[in-house]
Structure formats: C-alpha cells, structure tokens
C-alpha cells in the first residue's frame, strides 16, 4: 500500500517505517517475570518465628522454675543415700568365714537354677565356667579348661562338620550359618552389600539383594555403608565401610 505521505515510487526508508510504527502500538520490550508471592517461604519463616516465640515462652517458664530449685548438693545427697541403702549383687558385703566361699563354690558346681548363682568357682579348675552335669563330647574341641565342658561347647568348632569353617557357629545340631557349608566366612553376609553381588550366581552366600533403595541416603551417624546392591554412589564417608 503506497504511503500517502511519501512520493510515489519512492524507496521506503527506515524513517518512513518508524513513522509508520510510531502511529501503532509501541514495540514489545522484554519484561522481568512478575513477582509471584513466595507463599511457601513466608509460611515457613512464619512457622520458624512462631517456634522461636514458643521457645521464648518455655525458657521464661524454665527461668521462673529454676528460682525455686534446690541446689545440686541436695541431689547429690539423694544419690548417695540411695546407693548406700540398696544392696548390689556385684558388690556384696564381706562374709565372715571361709564357709561362705565353700558355699558359693558348691553352688557354682551344681546346675544353676537362677541368675543369683551366676558366680564362678573360686579356686577351682573350673574357674570361669560352671561345671555341668552333662558335657558334650568335647574331643578335639576348643573348650577352655580340659575338664570343664561348658554348655556352649557344642556351639563351637567341634560341631561344625567342615574343618574349613573355623568361624562358623553351630545351632541346633551343628549347622553352620552359611547355606554353602564349604564356605563359611564371617564376611559372607557383608559381601551381599556389594553391587557386584547381584550378578553372581553361586557365591559364599545367597546374595539375593532383595532390599531395593531408590536412592542413597545420607550416611547415618553410625557410619554405615548405606548403599545397597543397586545403589550406584558409595557414601563418601570412609567410615561407611566400618559397619
């Protein structure tokens, strides 16, 4: 459409265009995005303030409370009086004669019927283990004291069928923990946590890493290796592996 203000056939110049543009809407200019109200941040901040103001109330109450509190010496007296007034099986009073020692020794050498007889024979070849009426067959067993067959004897290596399983324990008829008796190593269960365990079919333990974690979580205070079989990132805390 020919401009009415310009000569016919004249080249349309920028000036001509700008005059045309001035007569219409102003050119769009980029604007900053609108400031939406930060409701979440405001509410969170308000909650924190409320929590602090509540804490102020509690602290003021605590200061009032402590005005009427007894000094520590009264509490120390209560502790001392309690300790002295109560007997303690681990700190018995002295017995007057050696007959008592014989009594404890006799009691130690019969089947214990109560925890009160959880004593050990003094001056006995069975110094740290009670003499049992029945001993398991401890031939070749690593029992402490040759004539004193502790009840736990059967849980020791004498029952494990495989000499190569020195660290395995026995339970109810000598079964080692590991399903594969040829490989009883203490680290059997720990190795299940390694990522490579997933693809191993027969290893020393059944590495069915059934626990699925969607992501590694922060190492807890106890410094656990928190990443399981399908977790790609090992915790950077070197103590993680100490669990």
């Amino acid at each position: 459409m020919a401009s009415t203000s310009g000569s016919v056939g004249a080249e349309v110049t920028g000036e001509t265009c700008s005059s045309l543009a001035k007569s219409s809407l102003p050119p769009p200019r980029p604007k900053s995005p609108p400031e939406y109200p930060d409701l979440y941040g405001k509410r969170r901040e308000a909650a924190r303030v409320q929590m602090l103001e509540r804490e102020i109330g509690y602290l003021e109450g605590e200061i009032k409370f402590i005005e009427g509190v007894q000094p520590a010496s009264r509490c120390c007296k209560e502790v001392s009086d309690f300790v002295v007034a109560n007997s303690d099986p681990l700190i018995p009073a002295q017995r007057k004669s050696r007959r008592h020692c014989r009594f404890w020794k006799w009691l130690c050498c019969v089947p214990c019927l109560s925890l009160a007889s959880f004593c050990c024979c003094c001056q006995s070849e069975c110094s740290c283990h009670l003499r049992k009426p029945k001993c398991c067959n401890c031939t070749g067993c690593n029992c402490a004291g040759s004539k004193c067959c502790d009840g736990s004897c059967c849980s020791n290596i004498c029952c494990c069928p495989k000499p190569s399983c020195p660290s395995c324990s026995c339970f109810r008829g000598c079964c080692c923990w590991c399903p594969d008796l040829s490989c009883c190593i203490p680290t059997c269960f720990r190795s299940c946590s390694r990522p490579s365990c997933l693809n191993k079919k027969s290893s020393c333990c059944s590495c069915n890493c059934k626990i699925r974690w969607s992501s590694c979580f922060k190492c807890p205070k106890v410094r656990l290796c928190c990443c399981f079989c399908n977790c790609k990132n090992l915790c950077s805390n070197p103590y993680c592996l100490a669990f």
């Binding site: 941040g41 509490c75 300790v83 018995p92 009073a93 959880f118």
Partner: protein
C-alpha cells in the same frame, strides 16, 4: 506481614532465645554448689576395690558371625536377645548359653533390639527405618526365617534404638535418625505420639538412644547428635519437659539411674554424665584420663542395681570402664580381665536382678560377667 518483617522478627527472637539460654545457664551454674564425687569424699565414702577375680566372665555366647550391635535382657527367665551385623537376632538362655531362637531378619542392617516385658516377642530396627516385631512362638523355617508379626513404619530415618514400655507388651518407644522419638501401639501398628520433629520443640539432630523410667513409665529420656539429652512425658508430646546440656559431642547412649530420678549419658566427647531429672542439674562428669586425653567416644552404659557402679563401653578395643559413681573413679577395666572381648564393646545390659552384666562386642561375641569373690564395702 512481609517476609522481610518476618526475618527481622526471627533475628530478634533468636537473640532473645540466646540471651535467655545464657541466663538459664548462669543460674544453673550458681546452683551447682558441688558434685557427687566431692560430696561423697566429704562424707568419707570408701572406694570400691575389685580384686583380680572379683568380677569375671562367666559365659561367652558364641553364635553370631558379625559385630554385635545391641542386646536386651528379659525382665525374668534369664534370656537375652542380641542383634548383629550378620542380620540375625539370636535369643539366648543366659544360664546355659544355648540359643533358643535365631531369627533371620528381612533387613540385615539392624541397629537395635528389645524384649517385650512378657518375653514372648522381640522387636528390632535399623536402616530400613521400621521397627519389626517377631513372636517367639512362631515357627521358623529351616533358614531361621520367622514371619514378622507387625511392622511399625512411619519413621523417615533409621531406627537407632527401641525399648518396650515397662509392663506394657503393647507399647514401645523408638528413636530415629529423623530427629524424633515415637510411641507405638504394637497391636495396631500405629503411632500413638511423636516426640520432636521439624516444627516441634525437641532434638535438632539424629536421636540415638532412649531409656524409659522403670519407676514412672510415662517418662523417658533420649540422647541425640545435637549433644543434648531430653526428658519426655508420654502424656504431653508437644515438647520436651527438659533439655539437658553439657556434652560437647553426640550423646550416644542414655540409661536411667536405678532410683528413677536420675539418668546417665555417654557421649562422643569421651565423658559419661549423671543428670537429675527434676532439677536439670548435671551432678557428675565421669571422664577418663590418658588414652587420647579421655576423648574416646562412649558407646554404651549400664548401672549396677544400687547405682554404685557405672559400666561404660568405649570405642576402642575392648575397653569397658567400671566407674565408682559416688567417687567418680575408674575401679576396673573389663577389657583387661581374663577372657575379655577382643574388639569394641558396642552394647551393655544389666540383668533384671542386677547379678550379671552382659556385654556385646564387635568381636561377634556376647559375654556375661558376674561376681566371683567376696569384698567388703563400708
């Protein structure tokens, strides 16, 4: 109110809180006119002296194939449950050393275990963030797998400690890495109360340990990585009754004193402390000297029946100091006795009648210690 106004109020409130805490700390210092050790010395208390064979290892419980992390006694019947890195709970007859149950756990990363008051169920928890309940009357398959009776789920972090409420088989309390403690109804599996949390007054870091009062089961104390211990009343969960300051490191373990009005703590700062519940006073600090300046973290504690002895396990090979709580002195180290553990002692537990102490260790064993001689105490 605008965000900037809120931030200004926040700053003012923070300063007020700090000033009030300072005033409280100063006032408490004024009330600390003595401690238990000074008082006992002034009273002329004689020290406890142990002979070489007075406290001995009477039983070694063999069976776990990994580090033992937790143990608990039954209130009666002389049984112990232990939890280990090998992913199993084992129930032991403490007298005969025999295993009565070996439960393979669905999650091997267990951190805590507890016996119910009636001795018929055990609870455990760990990295799976749930507390699992097992009935000991359930039949295990040949792998030792026992079906879970109940799962208490709801924590958003690992379960570090669990304990049944005394004389209540239906309620237990857990502590967690999510900074809260929870009172559970085991029958329904639901939370009864939550103690602490993001916008509630309580711990501000992982909670590592709980101990429930035997004389008043509505009270329990918790220890946390925020270096404090808190006293809670289960009837009012909105905030801690009292917060106990003093430690300079994570509070790893808490245990009630036998009288029910005091409790002990063990911390990464290498000290054990005795606090008074009702006044909030710190009554005694038990700090070992030597071995790194007494900075060995304390992993677990237990009191003897009278409270005269405090057993404390430390984070090095087998050290377990026996403290005379009245005089504040170490009277024995179980780690130096015959048949002691070969690695760190991670958990301790006193039998209900106080006649035996059980220790659990990273050497995969549990040991039972009892009195083996006679001694005079005046």
């Amino acid at each position: 109110m605008s965000v900037s106004e809120l931030k200004e109020r926040h700053a003012v409130a923070t300063e007020t809180v700090n000033n009030l805490r300072d005033r409280l700390r100063q006032r408490r210092l004024q009330l600390l006119d003595t401690d238990v050790a000074k008082y006992s010395v002034a009273q002329g208390r004689s020290p406890v002296k142990f002979g070489a064979t007075d406290l001995v290892c009477c039983r070694t419980l063999l069976g776990h194939t990994g580090k033992v992390y937790s143990l608990d006694w039954t209130p009666e019947r002389n049984r112990i449950v232990s939890a280990s890195q090998d992913g199993r709970l084992i129930v032991w007859n403490a007298l005969t050393s025999q295993k009565t149950h070996a439960i393979k756990l669905p999650c091997a990363w267990v951190m805590t275990c507890a016996f119910s008051p009636n001795g018929q169920t055990v609870a455990c928890g760990g990295l799976d963030s749930v507390c699992s309940i097992f009935s000991l009357s359930s039949t295990a398959d040949k792998d030792g797998t026992v079906p879970v009776s109940r799962i208490l789920s709801g924590h958003r972090g690992y379960v570090s400690c669990c304990q049944y409420v005394p004389n209540e088989d239906t309620h237990l309390i857990t502590s967690s890495g999510d900074q809260t403690c929870v009172l559970w109804d085991v029958t329904t599996g639901l939370k009864t109360s939550v103690f602490g949390g993001e916008f509630q007054s309580g711990h501000t870091a992982d909670v590592l340990s709980v101990s429930i009062s035997g004389s008043n089961p509505n009270w329990f104390v918790s220890g946390s990585c925020d270096t404090t211990a808190c006293l809670w009343d289960t009837r009012a969960a909105s905030r801690a009754v009292r917060t106990f300051h003093g430690h300079q490191g994570d509070v790893n373990t808490v245990k009630f004193f036998p009288d029910g009005y005091r409790f002990g703590t063990g911390s990464d700062d290498g000290t054990c402390r005795l606090y008074d519940l009702r006044t909030g006073h710190q009554l005694q600090v038990y700090q070992a000297h030597g071995d790194g300046g007494g900075k060995l973290p304390v992993t677990s504690i237990a009191f003897s029946a009278s409270g005269r002895l405090l057993f404390a396990g430390y984070a090095n090979n087998s050290t377990c100091y026996v403290w005379d709580t009245l005089l504040g002195e170490v009277v024995l180290d179980l780690g130096e006795l015959q048949d002691s553990h070969k690695n760190r002692i991670s958990c301790l537990g006193m039998s209900a009648d106080g006649s035996a102490l059980c220790t659990g260790s990273w050497d995969s064993n549990l040991k039972i210690w009892a009195f083996g001689g006679h001694r005079r105490v005046t």
